[in-house]
Symmetry: C2
Subunit: 187 residues, 2 copies
Protein backbone atom coordinates (compact mmCIF):
# COMPACT_ATOMS: atom_id res chain seq x y z
CA UNK A 1 0.00 0.00 0.00
CA UNK A 2 3.08 2.26 -0.21
CA UNK A 3 3.95 4.83 2.38
CA UNK A 4 0.58 5.86 3.68
CA UNK A 5 1.63 7.84 6.74
CA UNK A 6 0.48 4.92 8.91
CA UNK A 7 3.70 2.88 8.92
CA UNK A 8 5.90 2.39 11.97
CA UNK A 9 9.58 1.48 11.96
CA UNK A 10 10.96 -1.18 14.31
CA UNK A 11 14.19 0.20 15.77
CA UNK A 12 15.22 -2.73 17.96
CA UNK A 13 14.00 -6.07 19.31
CA UNK A 14 15.04 -7.95 22.45
CA UNK A 15 13.98 -11.50 23.40
CA UNK A 16 12.41 -11.52 26.87
CA UNK A 17 10.88 -15.03 27.01
CA UNK A 18 11.45 -18.29 25.18
CA UNK A 19 9.78 -21.70 25.14
CA UNK A 20 9.55 -24.53 22.59
CA UNK A 21 6.40 -23.15 20.93
CA UNK A 22 7.12 -19.42 20.76
CA UNK A 23 9.35 -16.61 21.98
CA UNK A 24 8.37 -13.15 23.18
CA UNK A 25 10.20 -9.98 22.11
CA UNK A 26 10.06 -6.42 23.33
CA UNK A 27 10.31 -4.17 20.28
CA UNK A 28 11.04 -0.46 20.31
CA UNK A 29 9.15 1.17 17.45
CA UNK A 30 8.96 4.65 15.97
CA UNK A 31 5.53 6.00 14.98
CA UNK A 32 4.75 7.81 11.70
CA UNK A 33 5.18 11.14 13.51
CA UNK A 34 8.19 10.21 15.60
CA UNK A 35 6.81 8.83 18.90
CA UNK A 36 8.89 6.00 20.39
CA UNK A 37 6.87 3.14 21.95
CA UNK A 38 7.54 -0.41 23.15
CA UNK A 39 5.40 -3.31 21.88
CA UNK A 40 5.48 -6.96 22.90
CA UNK A 41 5.31 -9.41 20.01
CA UNK A 42 5.61 -13.19 19.68
CA UNK A 43 7.50 -15.21 17.12
CA UNK A 44 6.15 -18.71 16.43
CA UNK A 45 6.39 -21.15 13.54
CA UNK A 46 4.14 -20.92 10.50
CA UNK A 47 1.54 -23.60 10.20
CA UNK A 48 -1.01 -25.06 7.80
CA UNK A 49 -4.75 -25.65 8.04
CA UNK A 50 -6.22 -28.18 5.62
CA UNK A 51 -9.84 -28.24 4.40
CA UNK A 52 -10.28 -31.94 3.46
CA UNK A 53 -13.33 -32.53 1.28
CA UNK A 54 -14.78 -35.94 0.45
CA UNK A 55 -17.27 -36.48 -2.37
CA UNK A 56 -19.87 -39.05 -1.31
CA UNK A 57 -22.58 -39.82 -3.91
CA UNK A 58 -21.95 -36.38 -5.41
CA UNK A 59 -22.29 -34.59 -2.04
CA UNK A 60 -19.40 -32.93 -0.20
CA UNK A 61 -18.39 -33.76 3.38
CA UNK A 62 -15.61 -32.26 5.46
CA UNK A 63 -13.22 -34.42 7.46
CA UNK A 64 -12.77 -32.85 10.88
CA UNK A 65 -10.69 -33.63 13.96
CA UNK A 66 -11.82 -33.46 17.56
CA UNK A 67 -9.11 -32.75 20.12
CA UNK A 68 -8.41 -31.11 23.46
CA UNK A 69 -7.06 -27.55 23.31
CA UNK A 70 -4.84 -26.54 26.23
CA UNK A 71 -5.29 -22.78 25.79
CA UNK A 72 -9.07 -22.74 25.90
CA UNK A 73 -9.28 -25.93 28.01
CA UNK A 74 -12.04 -27.49 25.94
CA UNK A 75 -12.65 -29.99 23.18
CA UNK A 76 -12.66 -28.41 19.75
CA UNK A 77 -13.90 -29.70 16.40
CA UNK A 78 -11.67 -28.37 13.62
CA UNK A 79 -10.07 -28.80 10.26
CA UNK A 80 -6.78 -30.74 10.62
CA UNK A 81 -3.48 -28.88 10.52
CA UNK A 82 -0.26 -28.21 12.32
CA UNK A 83 3.11 -26.54 12.52
CA UNK A 84 5.71 -26.79 9.76
CA UNK A 85 8.69 -29.01 10.48
CA UNK A 86 12.14 -27.43 9.95
CA UNK A 87 12.87 -27.07 6.23
CA UNK A 88 9.37 -28.20 5.20
CA UNK A 89 7.40 -26.13 2.70
CA UNK A 90 3.73 -25.27 3.13
CA UNK A 91 2.14 -27.89 0.79
CA UNK A 92 4.30 -30.67 2.29
CA UNK A 93 3.34 -29.64 5.83
CA UNK A 94 -0.34 -29.56 4.88
CA UNK A 95 -0.24 -33.02 3.25
CA UNK A 96 1.72 -34.51 6.16
CA UNK A 97 -0.53 -33.08 8.88
CA UNK A 98 -3.64 -34.26 7.05
CA UNK A 99 -2.34 -37.80 6.80
CA UNK A 100 -0.97 -37.94 10.36
CA UNK A 101 -4.09 -36.57 12.02
CA UNK A 102 -6.83 -38.16 9.90
CA UNK A 103 -5.29 -41.13 8.03
CA UNK A 104 -6.53 -39.60 4.76
CA UNK A 105 -4.07 -38.86 1.96
CA UNK A 106 -4.74 -36.10 -0.57
CA UNK A 107 -4.49 -36.77 -4.30
CA UNK A 108 -4.81 -33.03 -4.90
CA UNK A 109 -3.74 -30.27 -2.55
CA UNK A 110 -4.02 -26.59 -3.42
CA UNK A 111 -3.44 -23.35 -1.52
CA UNK A 112 -6.52 -21.16 -0.94
CA UNK A 113 -4.77 -18.23 0.77
CA UNK A 114 -2.97 -17.21 3.92
CA UNK A 115 -3.58 -15.15 7.02
CA UNK A 116 -1.81 -13.65 10.00
CA UNK A 117 -3.39 -15.49 12.94
CA UNK A 118 -2.99 -12.47 15.22
CA UNK A 119 -1.13 -9.64 13.46
CA UNK A 120 -1.17 -7.33 16.48
CA UNK A 121 0.77 -9.79 18.62
CA UNK A 122 2.28 -12.49 16.40
CA UNK A 123 4.61 -12.49 13.42
CA UNK A 124 3.65 -15.83 11.92
CA UNK A 125 1.42 -16.95 9.05
CA UNK A 126 -1.19 -19.69 8.70
CA UNK A 127 -1.44 -21.20 5.20
CA UNK A 128 -4.84 -22.53 4.13
CA UNK A 129 -5.08 -25.53 1.78
CA UNK A 130 -7.86 -27.43 0.07
CA UNK A 131 -7.34 -31.23 -0.03
CA UNK A 132 -9.36 -33.32 -2.49
CA UNK A 133 -9.21 -36.72 -4.18
CA UNK A 134 -8.80 -38.31 -0.74
CA UNK A 135 -7.69 -41.89 -0.09
CA UNK A 136 -7.91 -43.62 3.27
CA UNK A 137 -4.57 -44.99 4.44
CA UNK A 138 -5.90 -46.93 7.40
CA UNK A 139 -4.15 -45.43 10.43
CA UNK A 140 -3.33 -42.08 11.99
CA UNK A 141 0.28 -41.30 12.91
CA UNK A 142 -0.08 -39.25 16.08
CA UNK A 143 2.48 -37.71 18.42
CA UNK A 144 2.68 -39.29 21.87
CA UNK A 145 0.60 -36.48 23.37
CA UNK A 146 -1.98 -36.25 20.57
CA UNK A 147 -5.43 -37.77 21.11
CA UNK A 148 -7.50 -37.09 18.01
CA UNK A 149 -10.83 -38.44 16.79
CA UNK A 150 -11.84 -37.88 13.18
CA UNK A 151 -15.35 -37.47 11.87
CA UNK A 152 -17.21 -36.45 8.72
CA UNK A 153 -19.50 -33.44 8.79
CA UNK A 154 -21.85 -32.01 6.15
CA UNK A 155 -21.21 -28.42 5.01
CA UNK A 156 -24.62 -27.23 6.27
CA UNK A 157 -23.93 -28.52 9.80
CA UNK A 158 -20.53 -26.85 9.90
CA UNK A 159 -21.71 -23.51 8.51
CA UNK A 160 -24.64 -23.38 10.93
CA UNK A 161 -22.47 -24.42 13.86
CA UNK A 162 -19.69 -21.85 13.36
CA UNK A 163 -19.12 -19.43 16.22
CA UNK A 164 -20.53 -21.71 18.95
CA UNK A 165 -19.02 -24.78 20.68
CA UNK A 166 -17.69 -27.13 19.40
CA UNK A 167 -16.98 -24.94 16.31
CA UNK A 168 -15.04 -22.20 18.09
CA UNK A 169 -11.59 -22.34 16.49
CA UNK A 170 -11.32 -18.90 14.90
CA UNK A 171 -8.81 -19.94 12.28
CA UNK A 172 -11.13 -22.66 11.08
CA UNK A 173 -13.60 -19.86 10.42
CA UNK A 174 -10.97 -18.05 8.36
CA UNK A 175 -10.29 -21.21 6.36
CA UNK A 176 -14.01 -21.76 5.79
CA UNK A 177 -14.37 -18.25 4.33
CA UNK A 178 -11.77 -19.07 1.67
CA UNK A 179 -13.40 -22.42 0.89
CA UNK A 180 -16.92 -20.96 0.58
CA UNK A 181 -15.64 -18.27 -1.77
CA UNK A 182 -14.89 -21.12 -4.19
CA UNK A 183 -18.13 -23.03 -3.49
CA UNK A 184 -20.71 -20.29 -2.82
CA UNK A 185 -23.60 -22.65 -3.52
CA UNK A 186 -22.83 -24.35 -0.17
CA UNK A 187 -23.46 -21.23 1.96
Amino acid sequence: MGNSGLEWKRESSRKVFDCPVFCVNECICRSPDGQRRTYTVMDAADWAIVVPVLEISGKKEFILVRQWRHGSQELSLEFPGGVFEPGEDAPAAAARELQEETAWQAGKIRKLGEFRPNPALMSNTVHIFLAEDLHFTGAQDLDEDEYIETLQVKPRELIEGMGRPPYVHALMGSALTLYLREYPQLV
Copy 2:
Protein backbone atom coordinates in the same frame (compact mmCIF):
# COMPACT_ATOMS: atom_id res chain seq x y z
CA MET B 1 -19.41 -33.14 24.19
CA GLY B 2 -19.30 -35.08 27.47
CA ASN B 3 -16.41 -37.24 28.53
CA SER B 4 -15.09 -38.48 25.23
CA GLY B 5 -11.80 -39.98 26.36
CA LEU B 6 -10.03 -36.97 24.78
CA GLU B 7 -10.14 -34.60 27.74
CA TRP B 8 -7.07 -33.52 29.71
CA LYS B 9 -7.05 -32.22 33.28
CA ARG B 10 -4.96 -29.17 34.24
CA GLU B 11 -3.23 -29.99 37.52
CA SER B 12 -1.36 -26.74 38.09
CA SER B 13 -0.45 -23.44 36.46
CA ARG B 14 2.50 -21.11 37.12
CA LYS B 15 2.98 -17.63 35.62
CA VAL B 16 6.37 -17.39 33.88
CA PHE B 17 6.05 -14.09 31.97
CA ASP B 18 3.88 -11.00 32.28
CA CYS B 19 3.39 -7.84 30.24
CA PRO B 20 0.51 -5.35 29.86
CA VAL B 21 -1.10 -7.26 26.96
CA PHE B 22 -0.80 -10.89 28.09
CA CYS B 23 0.80 -13.26 30.55
CA VAL B 24 2.36 -16.66 29.88
CA ASN B 25 1.73 -19.70 32.10
CA GLU B 26 3.34 -23.11 32.29
CA CYS B 27 0.59 -25.63 32.94
CA ILE B 28 1.07 -29.20 34.07
CA CYS B 29 -1.64 -31.35 32.53
CA ARG B 30 -2.72 -34.98 32.79
CA SER B 31 -3.69 -36.81 29.59
CA PRO B 32 -6.77 -39.04 29.18
CA ASP B 33 -4.57 -42.08 29.87
CA GLY B 34 -2.49 -40.57 32.65
CA GLN B 35 0.59 -39.00 30.97
CA ARG B 36 1.82 -35.83 32.65
CA ARG B 37 2.95 -33.05 30.25
CA THR B 38 3.76 -29.34 30.47
CA TYR B 39 2.08 -26.86 28.09
CA THR B 40 2.67 -23.14 27.72
CA VAL B 41 -0.48 -21.05 27.42
CA MET B 42 -1.22 -17.33 27.33
CA ASP B 43 -3.94 -15.39 29.11
CA ALA B 44 -5.07 -12.18 27.43
CA ALA B 45 -8.21 -10.04 27.55
CA ASP B 46 -11.30 -10.85 25.50
CA TRP B 47 -12.01 -8.55 22.63
CA ALA B 48 -14.64 -7.65 20.06
CA ILE B 49 -14.63 -7.48 16.27
CA VAL B 50 -17.38 -5.42 14.67
CA VAL B 51 -18.74 -5.91 11.13
CA PRO B 52 -20.11 -2.42 10.33
CA VAL B 53 -22.47 -2.42 7.35
CA LEU B 54 -23.75 0.70 5.58
CA GLU B 55 -26.71 0.63 3.19
CA ILE B 56 -26.05 2.98 0.27
CA SER B 57 -28.82 3.14 -2.35
CA GLY B 58 -29.87 -0.36 -1.28
CA LYS B 59 -26.35 -1.79 -1.60
CA LYS B 60 -24.22 -2.89 1.35
CA GLU B 61 -20.71 -1.56 2.08
CA PHE B 62 -18.37 -2.49 4.90
CA ILE B 63 -16.54 0.15 6.93
CA LEU B 64 -12.94 -0.99 7.38
CA VAL B 65 -9.89 0.36 9.19
CA ARG B 66 -6.36 0.45 7.89
CA GLN B 67 -3.62 0.33 10.52
CA TRP B 68 -0.09 -0.83 11.23
CA ARG B 69 0.23 -4.19 12.99
CA HIS B 70 3.32 -4.61 15.15
CA GLY B 71 3.31 -8.43 15.14
CA SER B 72 3.27 -8.90 11.38
CA GLN B 73 5.00 -5.53 10.70
CA GLU B 74 2.65 -4.54 7.91
CA LEU B 75 -0.41 -2.46 7.16
CA SER B 76 -3.63 -4.39 7.50
CA LEU B 77 -7.16 -3.63 6.30
CA GLU B 78 -9.67 -4.98 8.82
CA PHE B 79 -12.99 -4.74 10.53
CA PRO B 80 -12.72 -2.41 13.55
CA GLY B 81 -12.47 -3.87 17.04
CA GLY B 82 -10.49 -3.98 20.23
CA VAL B 83 -9.97 -5.21 23.74
CA PHE B 84 -12.64 -4.96 26.45
CA GLU B 85 -12.05 -2.35 29.13
CA PRO B 86 -12.26 -3.57 32.74
CA GLY B 87 -15.90 -4.25 33.70
CA GLU B 88 -17.17 -3.65 30.16
CA ASP B 89 -19.50 -6.20 28.55
CA ALA B 90 -19.11 -7.42 24.99
CA PRO B 91 -21.80 -5.28 23.25
CA ALA B 92 -20.55 -2.13 25.01
CA ALA B 93 -16.95 -2.86 23.97
CA ALA B 94 -18.03 -3.46 20.38
CA ALA B 95 -20.04 -0.23 20.19
CA ARG B 96 -17.25 1.80 21.81
CA GLU B 97 -14.47 0.43 19.60
CA LEU B 98 -16.55 1.03 16.47
CA GLN B 99 -17.16 4.65 17.39
CA GLU B 100 -13.58 5.34 18.55
CA GLU B 101 -11.90 3.80 15.51
CA THR B 102 -14.30 4.82 12.74
CA ALA B 103 -16.43 7.73 14.05
CA TRP B 104 -19.54 5.72 13.15
CA GLN B 105 -22.15 4.96 15.82
CA ALA B 106 -24.37 1.89 15.59
CA GLY B 107 -28.15 2.20 15.95
CA LYS B 108 -28.32 -1.61 16.07
CA ILE B 109 -25.62 -3.96 17.32
CA ARG B 110 -26.09 -7.72 17.49
CA LYS B 111 -23.79 -10.64 18.32
CA LEU B 112 -23.10 -13.09 15.49
CA GLY B 113 -20.99 -15.60 17.44
CA GLU B 114 -17.68 -16.06 19.19
CA PHE B 115 -14.39 -17.81 18.64
CA ARG B 116 -11.20 -18.77 20.41
CA PRO B 117 -8.53 -16.82 18.49
CA ASN B 118 -5.92 -19.50 19.10
CA PRO B 119 -7.26 -22.27 21.36
CA ALA B 120 -4.00 -24.24 21.41
CA LEU B 121 -2.09 -21.35 22.97
CA MET B 122 -4.54 -18.75 24.26
CA SER B 123 -7.41 -18.82 26.74
CA ASN B 124 -9.34 -15.79 25.50
CA THR B 125 -12.39 -15.25 23.30
CA VAL B 126 -13.16 -12.88 20.43
CA HIS B 127 -16.80 -11.81 20.20
CA ILE B 128 -18.15 -10.99 16.73
CA PHE B 129 -20.83 -8.31 16.28
CA LEU B 130 -22.86 -6.95 13.39
CA ALA B 131 -23.37 -3.15 13.51
CA GLU B 132 -26.14 -1.58 11.40
CA ASP B 133 -28.21 1.61 11.26
CA LEU B 134 -24.96 3.60 11.33
CA HIS B 135 -24.68 7.33 12.00
CA PHE B 136 -21.54 9.37 11.41
CA THR B 137 -20.41 11.25 14.53
CA GLY B 138 -17.75 13.31 12.85
CA ALA B 139 -14.50 12.37 14.58
CA GLN B 140 -12.52 9.33 15.66
CA ASP B 141 -11.38 9.09 19.29
CA LEU B 142 -8.02 7.35 19.00
CA ASP B 143 -5.43 6.38 21.58
CA GLU B 144 -2.17 8.35 21.41
CA ASP B 145 -0.44 5.50 19.59
CA GLU B 146 -3.31 4.64 17.19
CA TYR B 147 -3.06 5.82 13.58
CA ILE B 148 -6.14 4.58 11.77
CA GLU B 149 -7.66 5.39 8.38
CA THR B 150 -11.22 4.33 7.63
CA LEU B 151 -12.59 3.39 4.25
CA GLN B 152 -15.68 1.82 2.68
CA VAL B 153 -15.36 -1.41 0.74
CA LYS B 154 -17.91 -3.37 -1.29
CA PRO B 155 -18.61 -6.97 -0.19
CA ARG B 156 -17.35 -8.39 -3.52
CA GLU B 157 -13.97 -6.66 -3.17
CA LEU B 158 -13.53 -7.90 0.39
CA ILE B 159 -14.59 -11.48 -0.35
CA GLU B 160 -12.30 -11.69 -3.36
CA GLY B 161 -9.40 -10.10 -1.49
CA MET B 162 -9.50 -12.37 1.60
CA GLY B 163 -6.36 -14.37 2.26
CA ARG B 164 -3.96 -12.00 0.46
CA PRO B 165 -2.53 -8.61 1.55
CA PRO B 166 -4.03 -6.28 2.68
CA TYR B 167 -6.82 -8.69 3.78
CA VAL B 168 -4.67 -10.97 5.92
CA HIS B 169 -6.13 -10.61 9.41
CA ALA B 170 -7.30 -14.15 10.14
CA LEU B 171 -9.91 -13.13 12.65
CA MET B 172 -11.51 -10.82 10.13
CA GLY B 173 -11.95 -13.96 8.01
CA SER B 174 -13.69 -15.66 10.92
CA ALA B 175 -16.01 -12.68 11.35
CA LEU B 176 -16.78 -12.63 7.63
CA THR B 177 -17.84 -16.30 7.73
CA LEU B 178 -20.48 -15.47 10.35
CA TYR B 179 -21.70 -12.45 8.40
CA LEU B 180 -21.96 -14.33 5.10
CA ARG B 181 -23.96 -17.11 6.79
CA GLU B 182 -26.65 -14.47 7.34
CA TYR B 183 -26.30 -12.88 3.89
CA PRO B 184 -25.41 -15.81 1.60
CA GLN B 185 -26.50 -13.89 -1.51
CA LEU B 186 -23.34 -11.76 -1.10
CA VAL B 187 -20.90 -14.67 -1.49
